[in-house]
């Protein structure tokens, strides 16, 4: 009988291993995509694309049993050679090729100039040729940063006593009412796709106190803007026993601080590739919704058209105001009008036209919506009635409050928006592997 006993060490080395000093002067084996081939006459520079970065290899004609003419871009190869230092090469190392084994060969050339430093094709082309465009070193680096954000979110929340949950995406009824939901038939029953894990995460506060989920959400919104997606990854948390809704903002600030540190430590190469300067998170200003409107109205001489609404242009100006006045990259805007928040939002007892809620703006774009929730059944039931809504289909959600719930609140962060702003892009599709929007369902 044969047995598996775990991961065996690979003969082939990754870039991190090659960069250890004691490898220089040794024969090593590596694999990768042939990224570029530059013919210099008697030698050719063959740059391999590996997951951690590029590796320059030197092929001398007649020494490796293979000719430069046998090699093509986007082949995958296994190369054996002598590792040498060379200041001019990426990462300061170079491989003198002794042997090349071709693992696979493409049957068509790439449709985009993937090996260029900046892939200066249109967004449309990048999205249409996703299997190609993401092979560009800068393009893929964006999604390494995105990984770092998700990882930071989870690891920070684990350290704060949160439990990870998985809630269903197909349901009988949505959390925020009937509009903007994708509908489907579920074994002859009408069903919808979840536009947020709101109801479930609140129910789970009664079980685990603090919960989070990182999962897709679905919004059938007919917006086709640079900041909207119809499917995106939502970083959600919900926490019990809060003293005030500031606890939620403090937790988000903690997450951002933790994550910027993680990016600096573990994703430094990707930050360098993308030329990213990380935003300041040591102290994040908070300002009331109505006050914020006033401030930008005064400073930028802009009329307040609707005191209960915040237009995207106003959000951008609030971002600008706090950058100019406080050198702040983020700003919490608090006390949103009750009308603009879902029924479960806790109204401010001091002025019930407003709620104990907030948005977090990052350079003037909303990347988070959160706040304190109603935790008493009676109050919740009254607010549902006052809005003319039905309790039908919310049985187990409402039951959680009947059985008792601690004061609590939480938030949802749009992962792609946060990534977009962090890497300095202005279209959320640039920070989405396979975006879904009004006109895009493929690839």
């Amino acid at each position: 009988m044969e047995f598996l006993s775990g991961v065996k060490e690979k003969e082939t080395l990754e870039l991190g291993e090659l960069l250890k000093k004691d490898r220089i002067g040794q024969e090593v084996k590596v694999n990768g995509f042939v990224h570029t081939i530059r013919d210099m006459g008697e030698v050719a520079f063959v740059v391999l694309r590996k997951r951690e970065g590029l590796l320059q290899c030197v092929l001398e004609e007649g020494t490796a049993g293979i000719s430069e003419k046998d090699l093509r871009e986007e082949q995958t190869v296994e190369v054996t050679g002598l590792l040498e230092e060379d200041e001019r090469a990426p990462h300061g190392i170079e491989l003198r090729i002794r042997e090349v084994q071709v693992l696979s060969s493409p049957s068509e050339p790439l449709p985009l100039p993937v090996s260029k430093w900046k892939l200066s094709t249109s967004l449309e082309a990048k999205l249409n040729y996703r299997s190609a465009s993401l092979r560009n070193v800068r393009e893929r680096a964006k999604f390494r940063i995105q990984e770092g954000i998700t990882r930071g979110f989870r690891d920070f929340l684990y350290s704060q006593g949160f439990t990870e949950i998985h809630t269903p995406k197909i349901g009988a009824k949505g959390a925020e009412g009937g509009s903007n939901m994708f509908r489907l038939e579920y074994f002859h029953h009408p069903a919808v796709l979840a536009q947020s894990p709101q109801f479930y995460k609140q129910m789970m506060v009664g079980v685990f106190d603090r919960v989070f989920e990182t999962a897709p959400v679905f919004r059938a919104e007919k917006h086709n803007t640079k900041r909207h997606l119809n499917e995106y990854t939502s970083l959600d948390f919900e926490m019990g026993y809060i003293d005030s809704f500031e606890d939620i903002m403090a937790m988000e600030t903690g997450f951002l601080q933790y994550t910027m540190k993680l990016l600096q430590e573990d994703y430094a190469e990707e930050l360098r590739i993308l030329g990213v300067t990380l935003p300041k998170t040591d102290r994040i200003p908070q300002v009331r919704f109505d006050k914020a409107k006033e401030l930008v109205s005064e400073k930028y001489n802009r009329k307040i058209r609707n005191p209960f609404d915040l237009e995207p242009e106003e959000e951008a100006l609030i971002g600008r105001y706090f950058k100019e006045e406080y050198d702040a990259d983020f700003v919490f805007v608090t006390h949103y009008p009750s009308k603009k928040r879902p029924f479960y939002a806790m109204d401010d007892p001091e002025d019930t036209r407003y709620t104990l809620s907030f948005d977090l703006l990052f350079h003037g774009l909303e990347i988070t919506t959160g706040g304190q929730r109603i935790h008493e059944y009676q109050m919740l039931s009254e607010k549902i009635a006052a809005r003319g809504m039905e309790e039908e289909g919310m049985d187990q959600y409402l039951a959680a409050f009947k059985y008792g719930m601690p004061p609590h609140g939480g938030l949802g962060i749009g992962l792609e928006r946060l990534t977009m702003k962090l890497i300095g892009e202005d279209n959320v599709r640039e920070a989405t592997l396979f975006p879904r929007d009004l006109s895009r369902l493929e690839p």
Copy 2:
């Protein structure tokens, strides 16, 4: 201007903090649900349910400004008191109450005996009253174990150079053909819900070499068995530059080993609560599909009805065989028949009726399907044609192979099934927060 500068230390303490020796004899503040109240005449034992476990508090009549009669189960409270050692209490500590503040009160009693050690109600009742049943200490412990598995999966794969990806769940076409998919209308276009991230994770091998995703998948299968769900969490990975499909099984073995260690270290309390003995993962036997059928046929005197199919009963017997003969909890069954595998599976060059693929059985239940994939466009295209399938709608998937792809393979693990087997349950719904099946779309 006010600023947020991160998480402030809470005044209230969690169980882990209370168990530090220097807290004994001190006044501390804690919060939690009132789990049980036991009236002993002059004193009452009020047990709090906190996220890390139970805490016994002692209320002496007339000393805390509150009477036992003012307290009710499922209130949430903040309690101040003197922490003392008491061997008879859970975790060996007890709190002498000095002050109680009621944070919230239920408006209805729990419909299930949640504070009992074992919630001996029917599965139906547990699922119908999810907001209540999960408050049971044993019920919720299952999902802490589930968290540990997901966490182990991610952390192990990060350490092995994998990149996390987020792929769309709404698409124009599915990975495994047209059946068993939920259909929906996407802005007047027909769309389906993803039954696996297969196409996307393969495409991303050409970008990141090694990728993983932990996300929901959707299967419109009309099975209503103990082991089927119509929505579940799939732990998927895909890796490039494999030497053989054994590399994939070795990686999964490594994940299992890492995760068992993580559970032992960080989830010991939950393992204790559930009475779980962790399975052996040091060496996992592998056996060919046809050989496995022979072995159980001989030993258990069972006729082989179809040499190209594995019935659930046969899987169970394979599990039993390897437990009896090798004391193995897991077994890799390899070389599944080509007919039973999707078009992208790599056929065994030595006998093309079989594939370089595997299932992992855990105590006789399939919890993983994986294998090597075809990586050359020509071969893939021929297999698609031979199966009478259309290439339409798979453009970017197929393009990845035209542009060149390394030899690769991967797997998908059903998180709920793995959790179920680990905690010794026999219905996958016991290991699902909010199951979705043929007859269940709520809560």
